[in-house]
């Protein structure tokens, strides 16, 4: 069963007077499988954020369709249900926190959904535990670090008990530690609660552990596959203005130098093991 399906999805932002609108998405056909961890990569202007915002009806298609568990995002009657099922976390942690106390912020969405108060208590406790922020329950959000704030924002989404979370460059403004905190939190949600994750980013290394990597370029899907399949496409990635992981770059060079190493040893450990083995054979 697919969580989200897009059919020939097109989107154009309103153009200035007298100018022709430019398509930000030009026919995206894809399906996000339930329970999967999908990373969407692309340079600025590739359409990846527009794609993300189309997944829970923040942006509506100009052409084609988006279905969330079969519901058409253009059907206004389904809007509330779609937003409840697909939660979104944005780039700037400071723009998405509304309350003065962490637990109140997390309770904001379920309160608005009219959830009973004991149930809200349970959901808030669960959500904060899921992102390891229980200890900060009564803290003021503005005193937290960027990574902690993003985890509160994620908890706020989880409290709606969504089936899918879309993170739109949610790690871009964080330092390496903050980025790692957020990544481990979403991996844990995917693993333990079977929540579908769509992670939009331009950090290649965040894609290493994904089930699937989609690379967008010029409003279309350019590459789609497992991390190993996608990151070994050295030349196409470079022409699209993306860098390949240093592991693949090194292996690619060594292969051209005539050393018998595989190209798809993505992680540092795999890469070192492959090179050690090749040198021993020599």
């Amino acid at each position: 069963m697919d969580m989200i399906e897009t059919k020939a999805l097109e989107f154009a932002y309103p153009a200035e007077e007298g100018e022709k609108p430019v398509l930000a998405l030009r026919g995206v056909d894809t399906a996000i499988e339930k329970g999967s961890f999908v990373v969407v990569l692309g340079h600025n202007g590739s359409g990846k954020s527009t794609f993300a915002k189309s997944l829970n009806a923040i942006l509506l298609p100009c052409g084609g369709k988006v279905y969330v568990e079969g519901m058409d995002t253009q059907d206004e009657a389904c809007l509330l249900e779609i937003r409840r099922r697909v939660g979104m976390v944005f780039q700037n942690p400071d723009n998405q926190i509304v309350a003065n106390v962490v637990e109140e912020d997390v309770a904001f969405a379920p309160e608005n959904l009219g959830v009973a108060s004991e149930e809200i208590r349970r959901r808030v406790d669960d959500a904060l535990a899921a992102v390891d922020m229980t200890a900060f329950m009564t803290h003021a959000p503005h005193l937290l670090s960027g990574g902690q704030k993003q985890r509160v924002a994620i908890a706020g989404v989880i409290a709606m008990e969504p089936e899918c979370i879309v993170l739109d460059e949610a790690t871009a403004m964080l330092d390496p530690i903050g980025r790692q905190e957020v990544l481990s939190a979403v991996h844990k949600l995917n693993r333990e609660k079977d929540i579908t994750v769509v992670l939009i980013t331009h950090h290649m290394n965040e894609a290493e552990e994904a089930d699937r990597v989609i690379v967008m370029d010029d409003g279309r899907i350019a590459l789609d596959g497992t991390p190993k399949e996608v990151f070994t496409q050295v030349e196409p990635l470079r022409t699209m203005g993306l860098t390949v992981p240093d592991t693949v770059d090194l292996l690619d060079r060594l292969r051209k130098d005539g050393l018998d190493v595989p190209l798809d040893a993505l992680t540092v450990d795999e890469c070192a093991a492959a090179i050690t083995a090749a040198l021993a054979k020599n």
């Binding site: 331009h202 290394n205 890469c271 070192a272 090179i275 040198l279």
Partner: protein, 288 residues
């Protein structure tokens, strides 16, 4: 030669005398040499931002001093403005500080305040715009019509137009995509090469630091943990990792290879250098 900037036993304490008293910088000492490209790395909370705000006198030391060409910058507090012209600071996300009607006026704001007028001002603006790759036809646009990366270039040009002797950049590439990061760093490298001015680059990214700077200062918990050339610093990779800091991915591969018994110097940080070492090993091995 005398260092252009000297930080001597600098301490800065926030909230002194309150229960929230905390020293963000404690007894830091280091020199910055004329014309060098210095990288400063450390976690959030390591004291980087507090430190650099002392370099142009935005913050006053709780203890210790900052010497610019041998002279304490706070010797005459009324002249601190002069220091701010000599040490140009580009903050994180500087595009949020753009405010003028046109790109030209925004870049001209700093040099005009320095007292530049007429042709001299015009020259400073155009030269700075050129350095960061802003085209002439973009100068009359509103800065808010530009893309995020271009806005950041305009903000950088506004500081370059003041022709500072020391340029301090706080996370200049944060939030940009890989191509945008590389373009901006290429502009900064060109500026360094052509003008020979001193640059201090603050970054979270070990990879970015490793690829660009002559010397690295590693901060941890308000102290200087180590300083040296990239090779010297990354030779202490294990120490960096155990201090919770990152090392470049290439250095990590080299460390892992060494752990697996490959005879390699782990103090490498570029793909090319590691490739060369491995090829040399293969040639050596083939001879046996």
């Amino acid at each position: 030669m005398e260092p252009i900037l000297q930080v001597k036993d600098l301490t800065h304490t926030y909230g002194a005398g309150t229960p929230f008293q905390r020293s963000a910088v404690e007894h830091m000492s280091f020199d910055v040499n004329e014309g060098e490209f210095l990288g400063i790395i450390g976690h959030t909370g390591s004291g980087k931002s507090t430190l650099i705000q002392h370099l142009n006198g935005l913050l006053q030391p709780t203890a210790g001093e900052i010497l610019l060409r041998g002279k304490n910058i706070w010797a005459e507090p009324k002249k601190i403005r002069e220091v701010r012209f000599k040490v140009g600071l580009v903050f994180q996300y500087p595009e949020y500080q753009l405010f003028e009607e046109t790109v030209y006026k925004d870049i001209a704001f700093g040099p005009a305040n320095q007292g530049k007028t007429g042709d001299e001002l015009d020259h400073a603006v155009r030269e700075a715009a050129k350095l960061v790759g802003i085209r002439d036809d973009q100068l009359e646009k509103s800065p808010f019509e530009l893309s995020g990366g271009q806005k950041r270039r305009v903000a950088l040009a506004g500081v370059l137009a003041m022709e500072p002797e020391v340029l301090v950049l706080d996370e200049p590439t944060a939030g940009l995509d890989p191509a945008g990061r590389e373009n901006l760093m290429a502009n900064i490298r060109d500026y360094h090469r052509n003008k020979g001015k001193t640059i201090i680059l603050v970054s979270h990214s070990m990879d970015e630091i490793a690829r660009n700077v002559d010397r690295i200062l590693v901060l941890k918990n308000a102290h200087v943990l180590m300083q040296g050339t990239p090779a010297e610093v990354f030779a202490r990779g294990e120490e960096l990792l155990s201090a919770g800091l990152d090392v470049p991915q290439i250095t990590r591969i080299a460390m892992e290879l060494k752990r697996r018994g490959v005879d390699i110097d782990p103090a490498v940080y570029t793909v090319e250098a590691l490739e060369r070492q491995l090829l040399a090993l293969r040639k050596g091995g083939a001879g046996c």
